[in-house]
Symmetry: D3
Subunit: 277 residues, 6 copies
């Protein structure tokens, strides 16, 4: 169950409303690396967490935190939009040279939301919940969370560089710090699960002798001239999961050209597909 107090987790202050920066901030709300994504991802992972209940608690706790981040950012968007024009006169006043102010905004923030935040990204595309990765495998979930926080902090840093408003920089420095914590938190959760050699390959419940083991640690090359693929940590030495030794070599097709046979009668194909010459 969830509770609220309507107060902001961290102060949100805008010195000079900048409607174009409001557009950029939308990415941190409704972008695929934004706060709706992490809030809902941790929420659904928690709801499906089987096994040690501490992971459910960990996930739901952080989901609650991220809900508060959406709230902060939505407030920041609304405050920045207070500088956006809503009538012709205002637009002309704001931009005597040309029509650049309105043109540079998500028009939906004005037309659909009346100067408020929306669950869309910085180009006005609504967030799609297919980005909620909750696999039922706790270790796979942790890798998804590290990825989410890695892209999330990258976004926050880009936003920080894009503004010079002191209030916005302050808010973003808080969010960047939380992303630092969360990257570390999910890596730590993988350690709690035993670290790389216990955890990988994910899922660790599949007996590896049932996979084609000659391909399990081979870095295969798909270079047109048949040469070996580019060398690196991935082409030799022990594998990070501690269960193999990397090799590298060019690949050749092991199968033939596929033959599907003729189309079935009544399947809507052309006659020539049904009874080939």
């Amino acid at each position: 169950m969830f509770y609220t107090d309507g107060r902001l987790q961290f102060p949100v202050r805008v010195e000079t409303p900048d409607p174009q920066f409001a557009r950029a901030l939308q990415q941190a709300i409704g972008g695929v690396e934004g706060e709706i994504r992490v809030a809902m991802q941790y929420f659904f992972q928690a709801c499906g967490a089987r096994g040690n209940p501490k992971f459910r608690d960990l996930l739901m706790n952080t989901a609650a935190e991220e809900l508060g981040h959406i709230e902060m950012l939505a407030t920041a968007v609304a405050l920045n939009l207070e500088g956006a024009p809503v009538s012709v006169k205002e637009e002309v006043a704001a931009d005597p040279v040309g029509g650049a102010v309105l043109g540079g905004l998500n028009l939906k923030n004005i037309l659909s939301a009346g100067l408020s935040a929306m669950p869309v990204d910085s180009d006005g595309v609504p967030f799609n919940m297919s980005h909620i990765y909750a696999s039922g495998n706790i270790a796979a979930d942790m890798t998804c969370n590290i990825a989410a926080e890695a892209t999330g902090r990258t976004l926050a840093v880009r936003l920080y560089n894009m503004t010079q408003d002191p209030g916005m920089k302050e808010m973003l420095s808080f969010l960047i710090a939380r992303d630092t914590m969360h990257q570390n938190q999910w890596v730590a959760a993988l350690e709690e699960l035993g670290g790389p050699t216990q955890v990988f390959p994910i899922p660790n419940s599949f007996p590896q002798e049932m996979e084609k083991t000659e391909f399990s640690y081979a870095f295969l090359g798909f270079q047109a001239d048949g040469s070996a693929p580019v060398a690196g940590r991935w082409s030799q030495g022990p594998s990070p999961d501690g269960k193999g030794e990397f090799t590298a070599n060019p690949m050749s097709p092991l199968g033939e050209k596929p033959v599907l046979g003729p189309a079935k009668p009544m399947s809507g194909a052309q006659t020539e597909q049904i009874t080939p010459a």
Copy 2:
């Protein structure tokens, strides 16, 4: 530039066509953890790779491999669909008890694709390219790739358990092995970039003194009763990035209730919002 020879990377053989398993296999083609996703993700990451060119080569090489996996799976879907009915007579023959055969399929595989594979998931939802994570930050990209292969191998294992066709099990045991390799490969790439203490927090180019460092390694609690959040590797000890020490404590709001002020005249609000009583 890309080349093809029309041959399959690994043999695809179906002993007993099972149109319902064709539906399940669609997840490995057009699901968010499927092969279109990894092929296109590595492709776009390669195209945007700045810095050491070996990562571009590594990514594009693996993109080529994954394109071949889509080809294999599309062939497997088409072969399994050869058992699907396309006319009333066939349906009755296939399922004398009731209408379960057609009902259990993605009807689009029949109605739209004529017994062929489609770029959709196991419930018929088309793949959406917003799932191509290519961030311009090479380390963030690697975390996204680990996540993709972790969920990808989990899916392949589930498919393996869901079929008893020897040909399909053979094909899947190859794909599972490749996912083992790719999980290790992307972890190895993070090692090539210096390993956790060099790489994290991502992006490592942001000066950490500019973040609110008192929140950078603090596990904050959002428990309704104000209690400490659940303990674990994430609540004490050194952080995996080697730059901090975990602490844990309940969080209180640092901000106030947000005040947006009245709505602007001509902004389409109700009169009462513009001139509050």
Copy 3:
């Protein structure tokens, strides 16, 4: 800011796991009339609420309630999915007659989520956040909320009729009651705003003399034979907003066929479009 205690708002009990009912319940999570929609809709409306702050508080309070409903339903889905087969042997045991069990499920609940809930609807389509209506006009928002709860309760009733599990009926009877309350709550909020004659037409801040008033209360007919449109409360008597009197009459086009003129050179049109004969 949000808090959680990890406990369920109302007990969720499943006597006989029914994976097909899990599929149906998904509509109440990720359907357009489901709980993610109302939780996020009230949340974003609250974040953008300008004017009297009581509406912000009202909305955020109910957003918190709805988050708890998602949690309940996600638990219900996971418990129902415990009856779903994950391997061939189980499938055969569960359904000796044919392959109907797996066929009747959202396969993604198994393949992507490992027997857990997902933010998708009953046919596996992910929720899209474009359904979060938050207009910046508080009265328009209330009408959207009445609509959401009207369709929401209709859905809950349909689910209630579709199951015979006592635990599920119990949970749904709670959710139906909450929908009863919420329908009344949002109608009451419109009353708080002054009731129909104060509130309509929305937005009430637009001077009605600037609209084409001869069409403001006219029920226009578009019947091919030029007859009057179907009579009802909408074709005569005072209008509910108290500002007009309904009339009814057939409509004729007031404009001409549109003429766009030729295509511009270099606009990618055919030559004949640029210089018509």
Copy 4:
């Protein structure tokens, strides 16, 4: 069956083509509160209307009207786009100071549609037909229609304020008037169905004694400090449906922390989830 005469319902005249306003107008075509939405919503509600046939006629009649509104707006978009540059020379002529003209447009209106309208919103996002609410419950449908027209008129007012072209203001003043009528029309339809006390709670065919009636008229509080939720018309007095009396009180969880039990073997989980320590 539908007929057309190719003439516009109301004259569409653009004095000064403004391609940026074309972008804004797209919201009224392909936005979630736009004309495609209402045309198709009334169309599908009509097709599924069971019971008194007058509602089918009412809905289909208005669907025909809205189709004509799309036609008007698409013409308006095309006429406004006649001012958009399609070649470098034109762009420089149109905007000697910088590249603002093209930058402020939906590029797809130029690149994909050759200076014509598209079924997309003001940020170029295609309309998604999941927004067609047609529930099979006639009263629920009416609430959805009131909501659609409330947001629709709000949008039209915002567009009216955003332009100073006399032709566009004329066209919009017609559309605003029609939205006034349609808001009243759908409220009137609810009256035809008996008004609030007959209609609510929707669906009225569910026996209310089967819901958890102690929660049917209770305004529950989810405030973190356990305080009562914000008071208003919704917290005391008779409920608008005439069937209850509002109360208000804080909520406590009635359920426990959910326990899902261990993951199933072969479900793709980590080993630790299957056999917890």
Copy 5:
């Protein structure tokens, strides 16, 4: 402007309601090759038609026809759904062996639409208006329409084969005939525009001397072994546009490996990308 008479263009009769066939019919409503697509595609093409006005008239006339087809199919879906169970008792009665009936349906047709049609495809995926191809080039539009009717008639034939209900076969034989007409109609429209040698390459307004003409009629090979690509009508002889002669030969890359240079400081990249070793 549009008009309606509420009557069906062609009789819709269902002898034996078959809810699973209702699901299949949904593809003809909301599938990418369905009737919403053609109705809206012709509508938007008409609205953007520049040049000879006869094409606008042709397109809008056919748009009106297709709207009537949606109406027919929506009726057919509703009539077929009358056999679907809505309560547990009905489900058991309809399917004493197992839960196959409900499992084989789009649950949204029951849960969201109350036994009515929806603008979704046969797997419950909503139609997305990005499929409305209206390019501003009249000849390109005609090719899109031929494609739409080719896939549309293929779908209708598949539906015809999938049912044995005489009423449904009758309705589909009408729709198939209309698709025959429409395929011919759009090919005829290309003839009206001058036929292949006048029309192609589309757009014919681009001076061909500005394209790299050595590649304009060359069938290039991308075979991994450098062999010539498969021969056919496309590899020799005059080109259908009458402006060239086909040749065939293997392709080699004309460009080099791309070099993007280092990442910009402050662009959110890793430090190593900004200052490569």
Copy 6:
């Protein structure tokens, strides 16, 4: 199986980075008429090609070519984005007059991709794989391919006109030439299948005597005044498929108003719908 050499099919050179043109180029990558679409469309058509194997080879060969085009365009986008500002200082330097530079971009190319290409269109909307038309009918597929290349070349021409960078014009003149070839190639493939009189109506395997032949070559009119529809090549003369003679006449409804009967009890309708007065 696929191979790569990492080299570009044709040189990609940008003399003056233009981030706004990068935005326009995105349409050629992730637009519905872009290169991802054709690459994946030919790929999936190849995988499902039944009948004469030469079509599979033809399709897969061209799929490989198109993959290389995505690579070229992604490189062009990244090079053009090198002129985009990422920090406040840069923005001010780039655009001393106002904030137009950032405003005119897809912000996601900066915020999500760090100055790299993405699989999105020119307004930032991700490509959706539902646009991959692969019907299982080889002739229908060819019509879809002609349509794809007709809209694709139209787009490329528009991009050519929109830039004055010599490198970009060079690259586009190559792509335009390839589109010329591909339009001809797919028309030639229809000739290989027998040309219009053999191929149409698609699918040619359906016995035409089973369709309502009186409607197969009739151009029906849906004019509100009952007049004949606009005359043209489509209203008289032999049909292009060689199997009929066009006629033209107004249409009247052949069916009645649909009657669905009352709603089922327990179907979630209003009581009045279940037992109409």
